[in-house]
Every structure is written in structure tokens, then in C-alpha cells.
Amino acid sequence: MSAELIDHVQQYLGKNFPIKLISQGAEALVFETSKHPFDPTLDKEYIIKYRPFKKYRHEQIDRVITKKRTVGECRCLVKLSNMEGINVPQFIASDPHNGFIWQSKIGQTLKDGTFSNLRNFLWLNNNDKNAYTEEVKQVLLNVGKQIGILHTNQYVHGDLTSSNIVLQQEDCNGKWVPFLIDFGLSGYSTLVEDKGVDLYVLERAILSTHSLYAEKYNEWLLEGYKQAYQDQEDLTQVLKRFEEVRLRGRKRSMLG
């Protein structure tokens, strides 16, 4: 099936457009290319993200969702790149009706040859010796801080998982800098509820994917998150709601 999709993308971009599939997520295919969409003088490294048509859902539902998410993601990327302290890929171009977005390339290859998202980074360190090192701690603190900055700017991510956070190593000191990606479900929101849910979704993602060390990981993430807040009153409210959402999950009555 993915061959069929790649053909479609190749056809859309033109026969000789150089692309390489680097990942196939649930929602999108991600390609790497060395070509800028319209300015040949800017040829460097770019990412093309393509949201294919999902055959399982009704055409109209799919059309609305694909467009909404593509447009939403572009908007978010633009807004966030102007925001102090947040690391996101740079937005280059898009075609919402067909589900395409161009953005700058971030991330690299880890020691074990996998892509440097937080999930693979944590899995690489998934043993008692490496799980609790200072390096891991710093990364998670910084990730938490990124989310905190996002929320204090009244944005929510909507799909926080360890695969949607990409790490990039700084040349000068080897420090890992986290970037947030995948803003298809993101948006502007002043609601405490949305932020609480955002944190809950992340906590659960860590719990299910990195279960062995999840408790400590979540603690560090939250610690970093708190650092981003100036206004302690806001923070208290979000954390309170987070606790409520969590309780709702646990105590949800399972009645028919």
C-alpha cells in the first residue's frame, strides 16, 4: 500500500523531484528532500509531510479533517516560530487541499541508527544503568519546559507523545535540544481543561510506552513544566485540573 501512496506523492511533486520516505505514522507519510518547493537557490534539507486520504472514513469526513489539520498545523508552526523560547520546525509551504506541508528538517540519527525522537532516545537508554542519568533528566526537564512555554502562550498540542518530540544535538556542547512537532491537533486555547488533558495525554503516553521508568520520567517532565510558569496562580489551576482529569480517568464509572 505505501508504494501506491509514494507513487501518488511522486506524481504530485513531479517525476524527478528527489524524495525519500523516512517514516510512516498513523496519520502522515514523512519524506526527506533536498529541494526547496519553489526557490532553487534555497535547496537544502526539507521535510515533506503528506496526509493521505484514509479509505476507511467517509470521503467528506476525510476531506474536512485533512484540510482542517493541515491548515491548523501550518498556522501553529507560523505562530509558534515567532514565539520566544519555543523550538519548532520552520514552516516553508503548504497545500491544504491535497494535504501537503513543507518544513525545515530537524533531528538526526541516534547511536543505534534510529531517528532522534524522544521515544527512541528513551528506548536507547531503557536499562537500569542509563535510565536515570543526568543526560536523560536534562532532556526531560527541557521537554517539560517546552510544553510549559507552549501552554503559557495559550497553545495546546493535542497529541503529546514521545514520538512527537524530536531531539537535536547542539554542535558546540553536545546538548540535546527538544523540538515539538506534529501540530495537526493543536490550537489556541485559554481553557484550563485543554491544558489538563494535554498533560494527561502525555503522562499516559509515557506510562504506556516507557512503563519501566515512567514514574521518574513524568516527574521530571512536570518539574520542567513548572519552571516555564511565571504566574503561580495559573500553574496551580492547570495542575489542579490535570489531577481532576486523571481522577476522572481512574474513577470513571464503567456503567452501560
Binding site: 500500500m1 505505501s2 510512516q24 505514522g25 498513523a26 496519520e27 484514509k54 479509505k55 476507511y56 472514513r57 467517509h58 467528506q60 469526513i61 474536512v64 479533517i65 493535542g158 497529541d159 503529546l160 507523545t161 514520538s163 491537533l185 488533558v197 494535554d198 495525554v201 499516559r204 503516553a205 506510562l207 504506556s208 510506552t209 512503563s211 519501566l212 482529569v245 476522572r248 480517568g249 481512574r250 474513577k251 470513571r252 464509572s253 464503567m254 456503567l255 452501560g256
Partner: protein, 390 residues
């Protein structure tokens, strides 16, 4: 691969198989079942008997705990008698509870307190009467283990959809971990409540009747669609549809011209829109298409996240053929495989409780205090330590 510990407790009388009686009654279905599980392969299970009776509330109403509990109490003895008759037919006339049954499994939770408790009292009595070990089972684990029996040992992502639960589950490190779930109400509950507004019959089940109506639907109305990561929310879509349906019903089961134009705006053809009527069937169709698209989407997200390409659908809503069809399409596109079961095993039943119970039993579960059999309405899937899997 059989773990050696799985043989901790051997079958009675030197047999090479276990016989287990499973009792389920966490919601409006009372189901008793007996299975025969091979000693050498815990996934080699033969269903000896699987009998169920459903309590149906009148149209426009949901089932109340008290009435449901009364139903279970009234039917427990009768159903067990039928089960024993079937056991005698299949295992020989000499079949005897005391002599042949290795363990009795029952649902400890999650579910409605009163119905759960009725079945629990029944299970305790039977266990004490014949001195047969009693095994409390988590209802969700029952569904998953039954499904695993059908997929024969693969490690699929499980979509568990029923009246009270909506979860995307995958196994890792001795627990069934919940990757995604509903943030508010369950999908089955959502369907039931919609059926209640339209006064659709509760027999055989509201979901089944909606499915039949939806098949005749043609025009899609756009509804809210709320996915948050691997979780989803359904109260928004239900609320919106409730309002829409109420105005639909109060207007003589049709929409005003203006409303219709707005609802079908995306068709971009006013003349055509004016010539069609939106029907109850269309409402059901639109509702299902949206709800299920959300479910498939979070399942696909979980699959991509854990890197699995098999899916198993369990739970009452899992019988819905449209849901199965959509899942099948999604899996094909990922070069994966979909497994589903028919209504004998999808809808709550005793067999699945027996299957999960006997796994616990042969691994050495021993009830230390009768108080451990107390039922619980909230019992999360990931609370159970799954020591019978690697």
C-alpha cells in the same frame, strides 16, 4: 511457547485438560459458560457451553441497576441448569459440578455494582457448596484473553469497545496497557443514549438497531470529531446530535429547508439539497461514520506508536459489521491484519471469564480471603498483573 509456571496447578483427576465455569453479569447480560482448556496449550480452548440471557429495558429507557440485578437473580439457577445439561451432552452424562469443574471464575468488575454483586453471591455459594476454587476476574481481561484465544497467540493491539468501555490496549511488561481511551463516555453508552432519544428498540440491542438503520442512510451530516492524541471524546458529538435530533423530532421528523441547506452545505448544490429529505437513517449513518472513524483513527495511532500490525476488536460494539469493515480497510492499508469475533464472544459472555479465570488458576492464583471476591465498579485493565504471559 508455554511457560513452565503455567502448570503450577494441574487439572483434577489426572486429566490433560481443565474444566472451568465462568459467570458474567457486569451489565445487562447474564452469561454462564463452561470451557475445556488443554493442559499443553492454554490457547487451545473448546467451548462446551455458552448461554446468555439479556435484560432489555423498554424503548426510551436505559437499564437500571436494580432491575438488572433482579433479572440476574431470577435467571442464575435456570441458566446454570441449562449449562449443566449441555455439559452432560458433550462431556458425558456422568458430568458433575463437584467432580469435574476445576475452578469457578466470576466477574469482579468493572461494571454495575448491583448486577455484579448478584452474580458474585451466586458464585460464592456454588464455590463454598462444592469446595471449588473461586477466581475473581477483570471483565476487560476476559475480553482480551478470549480474543487472544481466537487470534492464537499473536500480540495484537486490542480495541475494546462496549457499553461501558472504550479502550485501545496493548500488552507490554506483564500488563495490558491502555494506550488510548475515551475521556468521557463510552461508545456503546453513546449509541444507547442516541437510541433512547429516537426511541429505537433496546432489543436485541440498541447498537444493533442503529446499525441496521445506518445501512439505509445515504446523506452524511457533518458532526463534531474529537480526537486528542490517542484518546477521544464523545460527549461533544452526542450533545450536538441530541439537540439536532430533538429539533428534528419536534418538526415532524424532518428538518426545515434552511436547516437542511446548512447541514448539507458541503454538497454545493442547493437544488439537489432541496429535493432530498434527511431521515432517521441518515442520522444513524452519520453518527456511526463519525464515531467509528474516530475509533479507527486512535487504533491506527496506537498501532503506529507500538509498531504492531495486528488488531483485535472485542466488546459488544465490536460486532458492528461497519466498524469491522472500516478496521479491515485500515489494516489493509498498513499491510496488517484484523481479527474480530461474532456476537457469541463479542457480547459479554461467561466463556471469556472462564478463559481468563483458568489462566489465573493454573498459574497458581489462590483466593486468600473471601473478602477478595468483593466486587468493584472501577477496576482498570492495567491494574491486573498478567503473570501468565511473557
Amino acid at each position: 511457547m508455554l511457560q513452565p509456571e503455567l502448570q503450577k496447578v494441574l487439572p483434577k483427576n489426572g486429566k490433560d485438560y481443565y474444566i472451568c465455569l465462568g459467570l458474567e453479569g457486569s451489565a445487562n447480560k447474564l452469561g454462564f459458560g463452561v470451557i475445556k482448556q488443554s493442559l499443553s496449550d492454554p490457547l487451545d480452548t473448546e467451548v462446551i457451553s455458552n448461554i446468555r440471557d439479556t435484560y432489555n429495558a423498554p424503548p426510551g429507557e436505559g437499564f437500571m441497576p436494580r432491575d438488572t440485578a433482579r433479572h440476574h437473580k431470577n435467571w442464575s439457577c435456570r441458566i446454570l441448569k441449562q449449562v449443566i445439561e449441555e455439559c452432560k451432552e458433550k462431556l458425558g452424562q456422568g458430568f458433575d459440578i463437584k467432580k469435574d469443574i476445576d475452578c469457578i471464575a466470576f466477574t469482579k468488575g468493572p461494571g454495575m455494582g448491583a448486577p455484579l454483586h448478584s452474580v458474585c453471591v451466586f458464585a460464592r455459594t456454588l464455590s463454598l457448596l462444592h469446595n471449588i476454587p473461586l477466581i475473581p476476574v477483570n471483565h476487560c481481561i476476559g475480553h482480551i484473553e478470549m480474543g487472544r484465544c481466537i487470534t492464537k497467540g499473536l500480540n495484537p493491539v486490542v480495541l475494546y469497545v462496549s457499553g461501558g468501555n472504550t479502550q485501545v490496549i496493548a500488552y507490554s511488561n506483564n500488563r495490558y496497557r491502555i494506550f488510548g481511551e475515551t475521556l468521557d463516555i463510552a461508545v456503546g453508552n453513546c449509541l444507547d443514549r442516541f437510541a433512547r432519544i429516537l426511541k429505537i428498540s433496546n432489543s436485541p440491542s440498541p447498537g444493533y438497531n442503529i446499525e441496521q438503520l445506518a445501512r439505509k442512510g445515504k446523506h452524511l451530516i457533518e458532526l463534531p470529531y474529537t480526537v486528542k492524541g490517542m484518546d477521544l471524546s464523545m460527549s461533544g458529538i452526542l450533545q450536538y446530535l441530541e439537540q439536532l435530533t430533538k429539533s428534528f423530532l419536534s418538526n415532524g421528523s424532518k428538518f426545515s429547508k434552511q436547516k437542511k441547506r446548512k447541514l448539507l452545505e458541503y454538497l454545493n448544490d442547493t437544488e439537489m439539497i432541496d429535493s432530498v429529505e434527511i431521515t432517521v437513517e441518515d442520522l444513524c449513518f452519520s453518527f456511526q461514520e463519525h464515531l467509528f472513524a474516530m475509533l479507527i483513527e486512535i487504533t491506527e495511532r496506537a498501532m503506529a506508536h507500538v509498531g504492531s500490525d495486528e488488531v483485535l476488536i472485542v466488546g459488544g460494539v465490536g460486532c458492528n459489521l461497519r466498524l469491522q469493515e472500516m478496521m479491515e480497510t485500515m489494516c489493509k492499508d498498513r499491510n496488517g491484519k484484523m481479527f474480530a469475533t461474532d456476537d457469541r464472544f463479542c457480547i459479554d459472555n461467561g466463556v471469556m471469564i472462564a478463559q481468563a479465570g483458568v489462566l489465573q488458576y493454573r498459574y497458581g492464583y489462590v483466593l486468600e480471603n473471601l473478602k477478595d471476591t468483593r466486587v468493584t465498579q472501577t477496576f482498570r485493565t492495567d491494574e491486573v498483573f498478567v503473570n501468565w504471559r511473557e
